[in-house]
């Protein structure tokens, strides 16, 4: 018991609080995926925005949000969310793959050769 109290004191209060935030954010992300798979993208955006608010360090929430923004044609917001996800998890190959596919489309709309 003493050891537990000591550990909590050492780590400070944020650790369990952060764990709760991640747990809540995961629930939102999961729900967002379920509704996105049914085509309810606006609801999915709401859920993933909520997840990103609850736990701003949760890369999956930003990645999914980016996909939803992309689907809704909000390309500037999508870029921001992808970049945030990549910043949080630079080694995640799936986020990187999503971002590269997004860039391919986005670059088409902002081609330098067009005047």
């Amino acid at each position: 018991m003493k050891a537990l109290a000591f550990a909590v004191l050492l780590g400070g209060l944020p650790w369990p609080a952060q764990a709760d935030a991640r747990g809540d954010a995961k629930e939102q992300v999961k729900f967002g995926i379920a509704v996105a798979q049914r085509g309810l993208w606006r609801e999915a955006i709401y859920r993933w925005e909520r997840a990103a608010q609850l736990d701003p360090t949760y890369a999956a929430a930003h990645n999914n949000l980016a996909i939803a923004y992309e689907h809704e044609g909000e390309l500037t917001k999508a870029r921001g969310a992808y970049e945030k996800a990549m910043e949080l998890e630079p080694g995640n190959a799936l986020i990187k793959q999503n971002y590269e596919l997004f860039r391919e489309i986005n670059d088409r709309t902002t081609r330098k050769d067009a005047q």
Binding site: I33, N64, I67, E70, I95, T109, R111, D113
Partner: protein, 253 residues
């Protein structure tokens, strides 16, 4: 004890792997792309024709005009005007001969490369000419430009996959690098969008696509032209109408 520990560890690893596998899912998406230009002021579009050059096997002007008209009919909200292609090379030559009498003879033939093609670019800046065309067709959006479709050859090292069988008859596919002579085509179109009310250029876009085949493969020039135009069309269409690009992304948990 050690065996039990190993079993526990391995089942934990399997569980972790399963959880990792279940933590993402693929989802199809459609990304809407807004048009680059605002064409809300136009109800009609005139594909006026193109200055074409390169190989004589494909009439770049005729094929591009036909293809763009059919694409615009199916994929844009604009009504496509049916008309003959404009004699753009003649108009360009007239403009050039007015400015410099010596150049007109050399520019009479179809341009063979980009440098020769540039000699004709003056026609697109001829505001009076396009304004007149605009008045004739009730001020539509005018699509014109240049199309250069040239044969191309490149010798290089390419990687291909080859089947090999080992002494036990097991099949394997291994990458093999070989030096190959390859032939094909390069398509370099420039699409110019002109405001039929004012005769001025609203927007222009260029592209360059190439295709190469094995030297012993006989591919008709026309089929290569269509294959390359297929790559260029989404970008052309996205200039004046909203498009949806289909794809898949990975959702994470």
């Amino acid at each position: 004890m050690t065996a039990r520990l190993a079993r526990t560890l391995s089942s934990a690893a399997v569980a972790a792997l399963t959880a990792a596998c279940a933590s993402y899912s693929e989802i199809p998406i459609e990304t809407p792309i807004r048009p680059t230009m605002d064409v809300s002021a136009f109800q009609r579009v005139l594909v006026a024709g193109f200055i074409s050059g390169g190989t004589e096997d494909v009439d770049g002007n005729l094929e591009t005009t036909r293809l763009l008209r059919s694409q615009l009919r199916n994929k844009s909200g604009l009504r496509v005007i049916d008309s003959d292609s404009l004699p753009l090379m003649d108009v360009a030559n007239e403009g050039r001969s007015a400015g410099n009498a010596g150049d007109s003879a050399s520019a009479a033939a179809a341009p063979k490369d980009e440098k020769e093609m540039d000699l004709y670019s003056n026609v697109f800046a001829n505001v009076e000419y396009w304004k007149k065309i605009g008045e004739e067709y009730q001020q539509p959006l005018i699509v014109t430009g240049t199309v250069l479709f040239t044969p191309h050859q490149r010798n290089s090292i390419v990687q291909r996959e080859e089947e090999v069988y080992d002494s036990f008859g097991r099949r394997r596919v291994v990458p093999v690098r070989t030096y190959m002579e390859r032939k094909g085509f390069v398509l370099s179109p420039k699409f110019i969008f002109i405001d039929g009310r004012t005769g001025t250029v609203m927007h222009s876009q260029t592209a360059r696509e190439e295709i190469l085949y094995n030297a012993n493969q006989a591919t008709p020039a026309l089929s290569s032209y269509f294959e390359l135009m297929d790559r260029v069309l989404p970008s052309f269409l996205s200039a004046l109408s909203s498009q949806k690009v289909k794809g898949t992304r990975i959702l994470l948990q």
